[in-house]
Structures are given as C-alpha cells and as structure tokens.
C-alpha cells in the first residue's frame, strides 16, 4: 500500500505547531521514530511522515496535552501492551465493553477473576466488531480465540485484524504491518481493524477511569 506522505513543512503549516514542539514530542516518544521518513528532494534530505497517522496523532496530542503530562501520553501511545491487569468488576464498572461480550467473558473464565491486557484487547476488538454489526456472535468467539492465541507472538508490532466472508462463512486472521489485500470474487472483506489504533483507544478508555 503506497501511503500518502506529508512533508514536515506542510505538517507544521496544517497543524499550527512549531518545530520545537515537534522535536519535543519526538524526544518524548509521542511520535514513533519510524514515522520520520527521510527522502531526498531537490533541496537535499527532507523528512516526511505518513499523512493520516501523523495528523491524527497530532490532533490527539493537542487535544490531550493540557490534561495530561507528556510522559503519560507517551505511555498511552506506546504500542506495547501496557502491564494492565483488571478484574471483571472493573471492566463492568468502567463500561469498557458491552454486556453481551462480558457474558462471553464470564463463560470463558468462570473461576478466574483477573483479565490481562491482551485478553482485554481481544474483548475490546470483538466488542467493536459486534457493535458495528460486521460480525455475528459466533464469529466473534472465533476471532477472540484467534486473537488471543496469536497476538502475543507479534510482541507489540503493528498489525491488522482482518475478517473475510464468503457464502456466509467467515474466516479471520492477523496480518503483520500494513498489507495489500486482493480478494477473490464472491468473497467480502467483512472487517479490517488497525490494532495499534484500537490499543490507543483502549488505553485512553482505561486511563479515563
């Protein structure tokens, strides 16, 4: 996928932030190193960014920077799963996922009470898909199982969760990085979620308390 790039200069003009702020955020690791893409242009080496990602990130930083310290924000944007362990009660209390999914969770871990970040993340993803009506309950269970068993192997790398459906049969998989998908005729891309973006949303939800 050829991602659309934005030059540093254009970025600053669009968002109204200064060089100093950009460099400060880079130092604080609010903007990941790999988003700084160096390319040669006629004026020498220039830095470019993946357009959509950086614009969304800067919007979010601007929106939250008055309420939170930069270090807190950095922890939120870090792609590695936070070492969060929550209890079932907390998940209920904070309305992180809907009741239906919670019911599923109850069946799954009948005796255990604490929920790890990966479990919580998979719950959250399934919940999102269910709420948007893209998948059925039964498919949700499969996605959940698949995600929980495979996601830890990715060790915090960027990945996408993809659900395909053909003739009513659904299959799901995780793809590392950004990939191009070419799908056979008759099959339908039911859902596609960018996992790091979901992690951010989830962490935001968690930190709101």
């Amino acid at each position: 996928m050829e991602q659309e790039l934005i030059s540093k200069k254009e970025l600053l003009e669009l968002t109204g932030i200064s060089y100093g702020q950009l460099y400060r955020w880079k130092r604080k690791k609010l903007i990941p190193e790999e988003w700084f893409i160096r390319k040669s242009t006629f004026t020498g080496q220039e830095t470019f960014f993946p357009r959509e990602k950086i614009l969304a990130r800067i919007e979010k930083i601007k929106e939250l920077k008055d309420e939170r310290s930069l270090d807190e924000l950095a922890a939120m944007f870090a792609p590695d799963p936070a070492t969060v362990v929550m209890t079932k009660e907390e998940i209920v209390k904070r309305h992180i996922v809907s009741d239906v999914v919670l019911q599923l969770l109850n069946n799954q871990l009948s005796d255990r009470n604490d929920v790890s970040f990966v479990q919580l993340l998979s719950l959250y993803l399934v919940d999102r898909l269910l709420l948007s009506g893209e998948i059925s309950m039964e498919e949700g269970k499969n996605i959940w199982k698949m995600f929980e068993s495979h996601y830890p192997k990715l060790q915090g790398k960027s990945c996408e969760l993809i659900v395909l459906r053909k003739m009513g049969m659904a299959t799901c998989f995780l793809a590392e990085g950004a990939v191009n998908l070419y799908i056979e005729e008759g099959a339908k891309l039911a859902a596609r979620l960018h996992v790091p973006a979901c992690i951010e949303e989830l962490k935001l939800k968690l930190s709101e308390g």
Partner: protein
C-alpha cells in the same frame, strides 16, 4: 541480593556484578556488566561490558565497551562508551566519546563531545566543540564554539551558536565553525555556521555564516557579512 563495595587501589581486575560502591584508583579492569550505586574512577578504568549506576564519577580515563545507564555522570578527563548512553545529567569536562546514541535531560560539555548516533536532551550546553552523527535534538541548545563542530541535523526550540575567541594557530588550522545539513528550531541564532537549510520562526544569521537556504516565519535578521543563498518567508 546484597550489594558490597569493590575497591581496587593500584592495579587489579575483578568481575562485574552487583555492587554498592565501585572505586577504582589506579589501573582497574572489570570483566562483565556492572550494576552499582556509585562508581568512582581515579586513574584508568576499563569495563568490559555495560554499566548501570546512580552516580558515575570519572576523574581520569574511563572506557566502557557496552552501554551506560545512570542518573548522574561527571567526567573530568576522558570517557569512551561503546554503545548507548542514557542518563539524567551528564557533565563532561574533557573528552567524551559515545559510539551509539546519547539521551539525557541535561548535557554539559566543556571540551569535546563525539556522539556516533543521535543525541537528544532537554538542555544541551557546549563550550568547546562537538560532533553528532545523526540528529541533535534538544529543547535548548547553546553552543560556544571553540573548534570545528558538526551534526547532520539539528532540531529544537532554541538554538544558539556563538563563537568564542581562540589562539591564532587554532583559528587557522581548526576553525571554530559548525557544519550541518539542516537546522530547524523556533528561535535560531547562528554564527560561523555552514548549513544547507535553516528553518525557524525567528532566525538570526550572524557573522561568518554560509547558508544555502533560509526559511523563516516571523523574523529574520542577517549580518552583512553572512552569505545566504535563497531566502523564503513561509
């Protein structure tokens, strides 16, 4: 685990490990990674491995083949570090060589600092000269140039580069000049700097500068003797 002190006075060697105070006076060598609360070197010390400590004080010569992670580092003399450095406050009086990258809250250099990779700090003060292989990124950068300095890219909020006096010999053979590809910041004041591109909000280009391209937003001040190629207001 209990932490014990390690003292080498004279010539000696020991293994790395967990210590409270590590004091090397004379000629000391440690084999393996070192984790201690305080490290004091007076003389000549080599650590074959990495160092993790609260305080590191090197008076003389220190060589760490691995990386260094500490709260507070003070060097009077010279230090050579094979990998990355991370610390809160670093003061180098003399010569510092870091082959990897360097991250700190405050970096103070009186003398010379060479960083192979990127160098980032909230505050960086240099009185002397420096070289950074990658990006020098700091909130406040103040350089008093005493010798040839270079960085591939410099970015930050305030960037001040000024030249200090020096002997005629030094001026002739080791001109106190800064060379960089790109310098970007909110407030920039440059003297005796050669750069391809300078971008900033408020930019001052002083004596002895050769800048191919200057982009500014609010204000630009140029010295008569400065050589500037293209000026663009953005």
């Amino acid at each position: 685990m209990e932490r014990r002190d390690l003292v080498i006075a004279g010539t000696g060697h020991a293994s790395g490990g967990l210590y409270s105070l590590v004091k090397l006076s004379g000629n000391g060598k440690l084999y393996g990674d070192l984790d201690c609360l305080e490290m004091q070197v007076q003389g000549n010390a080599t650590v074959e491995g990495s160092v993790k400590a609260n305080n590191v004080h090197i008076a003389g010569k220190g060589h760490v083949t691995g990386g260094m992670e500490c709260e507070w580092m003070k060097v009077s003399g010279s230090v050579k570090i094979g990998e990355h450095v991370q610390c809160q406050e670093a003061t180098v009086r003399g010569h510092g060589l870091v082959k990897g990258s360097c991250t700190a809250e405050t970096i103070r250099v009186h003398g010379e600092l060479d960083v192979g990779g990127d160098c980032s700090a909230e505050r960086m003060e240099v009185e002397g000269h420096f070289s950074v292989g990658g990006l020098l990124n700091a909130g406040y950068i103040e350089v008093k140039l005493f010798g040839p300095s270079r960085a591939t890219e410099i970015g930050g909020e305030t960037i001040m580069v000024k030249r200090q006096g020096g002997s005629l010999f030094k001026k002739w053979f080791f001109p106190a000049e800064l060379t960089a590809d790109v310098i970007e910041g909110d407030v920039i004041h440059l003297e005796h700097t050669t750069a391809k591109t300078v971008r900033g909000n408020r930019v001052t280009i002083g004596r002895g500068c050769h800048i191919e391209r200057v982009e500014y937003r609010e204000a630009l001040e140029c010295d008569e003797e400065a050589k500037i190629g293209i000026i663009e207001k953005g």
